[in-house]
């Protein structure tokens, strides 16, 4: 029945019943193979042989003075300033920060201290006492790569694009994407050709830090291409300029020889989105890239052994469990503290993370200005955990649930990490049920203040990059404060800090808040990410800063 349509499916098909084996002569197989099979075989062979040849050279694909980066992003980020965040902060790190500059920037050329804010497109700035009006002196003699001069007009044009809803150049998508960074900006105005004034809605002492990610695009280019079209031909002042992009495959940037901060040493930077960690390492090992973000921790030892440079450093990033403090038994602080005592962070880091993270015993990350050694309240102490539980009336422990993401930027290797923690907690009688949640749906719930799946806790990696985050994560009434943590003393310290212009004093205020938060244990403080990345041996001169961001101008590929 050859004309009958077989059950149409991709699945194995119910083959039509084979014909009765009647006494019939079988065809000579020799002929058939020559006729049909021969063709097939030949085509298979033909398909195979040149493959082996042509690929032998591809192992050295990443040669010359070109840096090829395997990003964790699943696609090339958008190329228009703040929109690059559409692929997470990685878009700012590798795209926006390379094509553009902000008024300020972080000092990323060193790895010892927390990068201070240094002048970028602004040479200097001052604020009024209330920290609401800021005057910026712009850096002279800077040009966008299309020749447009950098001046107050260009700056105001860009501020209008971000925040001035009545300006023709206002770009709602950009306004939305820049989010918290610009939410407190009220207005900007030109003072003279090289001076501008920025007004905020309230005291914002840490504005310079926020402005590191408010990027400036060439007004000429934006006007020529329109807000929507600019992303296809981005022009900035940054260390690299746009060459080409193949959607989903790669973005090619070349060095800007006239960069005001010093020309990059590398000729080109090629960015490839490879979201799967194994695939990234495979690409690195097969020589297709010479820089891979976030390797699977277990590959770190062998990568090191095989001569790759595995770089890590602390940065402002934490990986906690956020506890719903309104649910029993978590209303009792002793229960929350007990959990903080019950987990063996060092073992987790040594075994599961291969040293790619630091233990966190307080609310502040190690690379945060508010980190103080003396605030390290917790340690691995199961006995103490048990006694705290007993004191809280739970000598036999309790059962609880945790929602955690299965993947997602910054979440490290959530499954084995949470499984390890689950075992630690089980040892003191706390039985944690793990509920994996897909990252996108987790974010949806999280941002409106819910823990997905109605669980008691949520595991989510959080950034401390901007000082505003303190209030986002721990401030009363903040949406993402899903644990509904509320300590008036902490709240008062946050308000006071926002109006304190002195960096040291401000960090001290945050450190005080951290002390309270740590004691209150609204989270289970677990680890600080060390931001591991792997570079091929021939990538020289890169400095891993204590920051999410990276400076690509210092390195070269030999």
């Amino acid at each position: 029945m050859p004309n009958e349509r077989p059950a149409p499916t991709a699945l194995p098909v119910a083959e039509s019943s084979s014909a009765p084996s009647s006494p019939r002569r079988r065809p000579s197989r020799r002929n058939f193979l020559a006729g049909v099979g021969g063709v097939s075989l030949a085509s298979v062979l033909a398909a195979c042989t040149p493959g082996a040849k042509s690929t032998s050279g591809s192992g050295g694909g990443a040669k010359a003075n070109i840096l090829v980066i395997a990003m964790t992003a699943s696609d090339i980020p958008l190329l228009d300033t703040g929109l690059a965040q559409n692929q997470g902060y990685e878009g700012l790190r590798f795209v926006a920060n390379q094509l553009f500059d902000g008024l300020t920037k972080f000092d990323l050329k060193q790895g010892e201290k927390i990068p201070p804010v240094i002048p970028g497109l602004a040479l200097s700035w001052t604020a009024n006492a209330a920290a609401t009006v800021w005057t910026f002196k712009l850096r002279p003699n800077v040009k966008f790569t299309d020749g447009t001069p950098w001046n107050a007009d260009a700056a105001i044009f860009n501020f209008n694009r971000y925040i001035n809803k009545s300006a023709p150049e206002f770009y709602p998508a950009l306004n939305a994407a820049a989010g918290l960074t610009i939410s407190s900006l009220k207005s900007s105005k030109k003072i003279d050709d090289m001076t501008i004034e920025v007004t905020t809605n309230g005291p914002l002492a840490y504005l310079p830090s926020n402005l590191t990610t408010v990027y400036f695009a060439s007004p000429t280019a934006v006007k020529a291409e329109g807000n929507e079209g600019f992303g296809a031909k981005p022009v900035g002042t940054g260390p690299f300029t746009f060459v080409s992009m193949t959607r989903g495959q790669q973005l090619v940037l070349k060095a800007n020889p006239d960069y005001w901060g010093g020309a990059p040493k590398v000729e080109q930077v090629i960015l490839r989105p490879i979201p799967d960690p194994t695939a990234r390492i495979a690409a690195l090992r097969s020589g297709q890239v010479n820089w891979a973000e976030v390797p699977p921790p277990d590959d770190v030892p062998t990568l090191t052994k095989d001569g790759f440079q595995v770089l890590t450093n602390s940065y402002d990033h934490v990986w906690p469990w956020v506890i719903n403090g309104q649910k029993k038994p978590f209303t009792d602080v002793r229960v929350r503290q007990a959990m903080n005592y019950a987990i063996n962070r060092e073992a987790l880091i040594k075994n599961v993370l291969q040293g790619t993270a630091d233990p966190e015993f307080q609310a502040a990350a190690r690379a945060n200005a508010a980190y103080r050694e003396e605030n390290n309240l917790y340690s691995y102490d199961p006995a103490k955990a048990k006694s705290l539980l007993a004191a809280a009336g739970l000598p036999n422990g309790f059962s609880t649930t945790l929602s955690y993401p299965t993947s997602g930027s910054g979440n490290m290797v959530p499954t084995p990490m949470n499984e390890a923690l689950q075992q630690d907690l089980a040892a003191v009688g706390i039985k944690v049920k793990l509920q994996p949640v897909e990252w996108a749906s987790m974010l949806t719930d999280y941002f409106v203040g819910k823990i997905p799946g109605n669980a008691d806790m949520i595991n989510i990696s959080l950034s401390m990059q901007q000082e505003g985050f303190w209030n986002t994560w721990f401030g009363a009434g903040s949406g993402p404060n899903v644990g509904k943590y509320n300590n008036p003393k902490v709240q008062a310290l946050f308000t006071q800090a926002a109006a304190t212009l002195d960096d040291t004093k401000r960090s001290d205020l945050y450190a005080q808040a951290v002390k309270y938060i740590t004691e209150d244990a609204p989270w289970v403080f677990i680890v600080d990410d060390r931001n591991p990345r792997v570079l091929a041996a021939n990538v020289k001169g890169f400095i891993e800063p204590k920051s999410w961001f990276a400076d690509l101008t210092t390195l070269s590929v030999s």
Binding site: E4, R5, A7, P8, T9, A10, L11, P12, V13, A14, E15, S17, S18, P20, S21, S22, P23, P277, T278, I281, R285, P296, D298, D299, P301, T302, L303, A347, L348, K350, N351, V352, T406, S407, V413, T415, P416, N418, E419, A420, Q422, Q423, A426, L434, Q435, P436, V437, E438, S441, G453
Partner: protein
């Protein structure tokens, strides 16, 4: 073929003695496959008796031991859990994700196919065109979307798989029913005065059942593989529970350190899938002996 067809008679003349002796017997390969499946089922049932380790709790100091380590015959995973133990316990959800979606889609699909095949032109059109829509929909993506919609968890991946398997089963059932629709014995049944439902379930069903069963048997293997794929994408069973697909997804993190560990669940899935396929093939030839002479 009528009784006067001599060529056909020559064929049956030869086939007949064979049929007489072998028609009630499954091919050896299918028996072996059935045995393998039975063994897997038994291992799954008696997992707690066969191993002293816990499938979910391991020792972080004992992680990523290679295959053949004493005490851990098949090594340990990233949590230091005994892989053999996880394989044994993991057989349960793996088999379930193979069997339940197929059972569900087999039942629903057959019913739909029967209704379509026996129903009026309109009913048939409505059902079959709806199924066409699901055919044109990329199945894997549909499963992913459904699983994503329902959230992770074994029951949700079972539902997602059942949904995507219904259309092909229904098509097989419908086309088999369609083939029978004008068969003499169905006409006779129609003329006999029996109710449509009685004809569908007592006359048609026994005839399409073999084809559907054979088809479904092959789907079991596929369903296991797909379920494992969903787990691989993080949409299946929740950790730390053991499931073969999840283990692949888990162990693939270590392919550069302990690549051979990945082979363990992969081979298990392969074996189970092959076993179900071989069993399906065996059933096919076993059941065809009767349908051929008929």
């Amino acid at each position: 073929m009528t009784a006067t067809a001599d060529v056909g008679i020559a064929a049956t003349a030869v086939a007949a003695p064979q049929a007489a002796t072998s028609k009630r017997r499954l091919p050896l390969s299918a028996k072996i496959a059935g045995g393998v499946i039975l063994i897997i089922v038994l291992l799954a049932i008696f997992a707690p008796l066969l191993t002293s380790y816990s499938p979910t709790v391991g020792s972080l100091t004992d992680r990523l031991q290679p295959i053949g380590t004493s005490g851990h015959l098949l090594g340990t995973d990233g949590q230091g859990r005994d892989i053999l133990t996880r394989m044994l316990y993991g057989a349960r959800p793996s088999l379930m994700t193979g069997l339940i979606p197929v059972a569900v889609s087999g039942t629903l699909g057959t019913t739909l196919g029967l209704i379509a095949g026996m129903g009026s032109k309109f009913t048939r059109g409505a059902i079959m065109r709806t199924l066409d829509v699901f055919y044109a929909f990329p199945a894997v993506l549909l499963a992913i979307a459904i699983a994503a919609a329902l959230g992770s968890g074994i029951s949700n991946s079972v539902i997602a798989l059942a949904v995507i398997l219904i259309p092909p089963v229904a098509r097989v059932a419908e086309s088999e029913t369609g083939r029978l629709r004008s068969a003499d014995f169905i006409e006779a049944a129609n003329a006999s005065g029996a109710r449509k439902s009685a004809i569908a379930f007592r006359q048609v069903l026994p005839n399409i059942a073999p084809a559907v069963v054979v088809y479904c048997t092959a789907l079991i293997g596929l369903s296991i593989v797909y379920a494992a794929g969903l787990s691989f994408l993080g949409l299946g069973i929740s950790p730390p529970k053991a499931e073969w697909g999840l283990m692949i997804s888990d162990l693939q993190q270590y392919i550069f350190t302990q690549p051979q560990l990945l082979l363990v669940p992969a081979i298990a899935i392969l074996i189970a899938s092959v076993a179900f396929n071989v069993l399906g093939d065996g059933l096919r030839s076993y059941l065809n002996v009767r349908s051929e002479t008929a």
